[in-house]
């Protein structure tokens, strides 16, 4: 089987080295670019399966690189950045990033995220049923099962869960979810989201206080993980 290819765009040589070793020892083919221009060029040349992008690049602002890549590049883009400001992260997600990791990050976490993005991208977008060992959601029949037992969800709860599940592994911002489910005029009504997420967790998580599927991205949004 062909190795999956990852392009790392980062100006810090230590980070490039670290990622090269970590990723290649985990069976990925790694390409390295040290600035934005080189990154965009390599992305076009190699068509990698995933791009890791640093936001603080010497030549072009990382957000701009992201926007330019997203004009034609469809595979997952993960942001790696030392900037932890919520507004910066939300902006990157709005610009089309699938995920973000703040430096310093743990290697295990990084690999888990990479694998989840690779897995999801192979899946066909039109697949109507999303399943794992103890969870399934049928997007057409609108049926949710936990441990093979059907769970009764309200219409809004189902819509929320469906949009999360369709974007497994991807961080969805509060604003995005509110707009998608309740409409544009609700984009700052976060209380809707908080209440429905809490309800949904009570119905599908083993322990709503320690969620394993609907994860909180502090101050930013939510991410769905198939367990």
């Amino acid at each position: 089987m062909n190795k999956r290819q990852i392009l790392v765009i980062d100006d810090e040589s230590q980070i490039r080295k670290l990622l090269e070793i970590t990723l290649s020892t985990n069976d990925f083919d790694v390409k390295l670019a040290e600035n934005g221009l080189e990154g965009i060029r390599y992305a076009a040349t190699f068509q990698p399966d995933l791009i890791m992008l640093d936001l603080g690049l010497p030549d072009i602002d990382g957000q701009k690189v992201l926007q330019q890549l997203r004009e034609w590049y469809l595979n997952p883009i993960m942001i790696l950045s030392v900037k932890s400001e919520e507004s910066e992260i939300v902006k990157a997600l709005d610009n089309g990033a699938n995920d973000y990791l703040i430096k310093p990050f743990r290697t295990q976490e990084l690999l888990a995220r990479v694998r989840s993005h690779m897995r999801n991208h192979i899946k066909e977008a039109s697949e109507p049923v999303i399943t794992s060992s103890n969870f399934s959601i049928d997007l057409i029949a609108r049926i949710v099962k936990v441990n093979n037992e059907e769970v009764k969800l309200t219409q809004t709860e189902f819509n929320l869960l469906a949009i999360l599940a369709k974007n497994e592994g991807k961080v969805l911002t509060h604003q995005y979810l509110l707009k998608e489910i309740w409409g544009k005029s609700y984009s700052d009504q976060t209380q809707y989201l908080r209440v429905f997420v809490a309800q949904l967790r009570k119905k599908i998580e083993k322990d709503a206080n320690h969620p394993e599927m609907i994860l909180t991205e502090s101050g930013i949004g939510y991410r769905f993980i198939l367990t």
């Binding site: 919520e86 310093p104 309200t154 976060t190 209440v195 429905f196 809490a198 101050g219």
Partner: protein
């Protein structure tokens, strides 16, 4: 009236009033006390003004009193003309003494002020050095551990797998500690530069608490963290990130400083529009005479264990206050510390799910 901070314009008015008042009193008794004694009384008045006022009002008092003395008290009266040579000489001397008086007093005060400034500067340098000492210790210890361990691993010394593992573990602990310190320093400087503006939005405080507990898992602590909350705790308008940090710092402290396997309790409740977060532990509590200082920047308890930066609690205070809240600390009667956070904010009991 004589406060040094008084309005400069008032200083002119008051020094004129004072000189005129004293002169009037002297004028009433001029037949009894004689004009030479009056000269001394007026000089004392000028000195008095010099003690409290700035140089220009003092000079004004000096000139005015000299003129008054000449006009009303030296023969011939009610004219600036002076009859005999001795009086002319005395008037000249009066004038000089009054001016010297004013200038000297002013200079003394100036020197005094410079000395004061120097001393407070020295004190702040001393304080700064203590802070720098503790800070460089906290930063350099983990760096030393990392450099030392990597050197050992890179050397050709023969090591068992177990020993290698231990060195790697050291590096890992040290880098986490370093990361924590840097995070604290960055937060402190963000707080001090005033760039932190609370972004108040609806949050589920329960969710924040459990997120923090999840994040603390890598610390592999042995204490038991118990969450107790009012049933159906409503949503509150808070800054998610700041509140998360506050709870993290307090729980992290409790984990570091309380006995193994003891219980840490976090209680969430509210009344009307105030959220109350209480964190209780079963440690030794804080020395009563130091409680007032624990939220101060860089303050370390006198006999505290190494490992902290002295910033954690001051960040807690800063982040709570950025949300218009208060944080207080007291010792529990049954032993241990009790942190109480109160944030007055909007509360939402609304439940959109009921309509479905």
């Amino acid at each position: 009236m004589f406060s040094r901070t008084s309005n400069p314009n008032n200083q002119y008015i008051f020094s004129i009033i004072l000189v005129v008042l004293i002169s009037l009193v002297c004028f009433a008794f001029k037949d009894i006390i004689g004009y030479k004694v009056i000269a001394f009384i007026l000089l004392v008045t000028v000195s008095f003004v010099a003690m409290f006022y700035r140089i220009v009002p003092t000079l004004l008092a000096a000139v005015l009193s000299a003129l008054i003395w000449n006009f009303f008290f030296i023969k011939p009266y009610y004219t600036f003309h002076i009859g005999n040579t001795e009086d002319k000489f005395m008037f000249f001397m009066y004038f000089v003494i009054a001016l010297i008086n004013a200038v000297l007093t002013f200079k003394i005060r100036q020197i005094e002020r410079i000395a004061n400034e120097k001393e407070s500067k020295l004190q702040s340098i001393k304080l700064y050095n203590t802070l720098l000492d503790s800070l460089s210790h906290e930063l350099k210890t983990p760096i030393a551990a990392i450099i030392g361990s990597t050197d050992a691993l890179q050397s050709n010394a023969i090591m068992t797998e177990n020993q290698k593992e231990k060195l790697l573990e050291e590096i890992s602990i040290a880098s986490l500690r370093l990361n924590n310190q840097v995070e604290n320093l960055l937060n402190m400087s963000r707080l001090e530069s005033g760039v932190i503006v609370a972004k108040m939005d609806w949050v589920d405080v329960n969710e924040i608490v459990y997120e923090v507990i999840r994040a603390l898992k890598i610390k592999s602590y042995t204490q038991k963290i118990v969450v107790t909350a009012t049933e159906n705790l409503p949503l509150f308008k808070l800054d998610y990130g700041l509140t998360e940090h506050v709870i993290y710092n307090l729980l992290n402290n409790a984990i570091i400083y309380t006995p193994e396997k003891s219980t840490i309790t976090i209680n969430l409740s509210y009344s009307e529009n105030t959220l109350q977060i209480i964190i209780l532990d079963e440690g030794n509590g804080f020395p009563e005479d130091e409680i007032a200082f624990v939220f101060d920047k860089f303050y370390r308890l006198k006999n505290s264990r190494p490992g902290g930066s002295g910033l954690g609690l001051s960040i807690v205070k800063g982040f709570v206050e950025a949300q218009n809240g208060t944080v207080t600390l007291e010792n529990r009667v049954e032993g241990g510390a009790k942190f109480i956070i109160k944030i007055k904010t909007e509360v939402s009991k609304f439940n959109p799910t009921e309509n479905e």
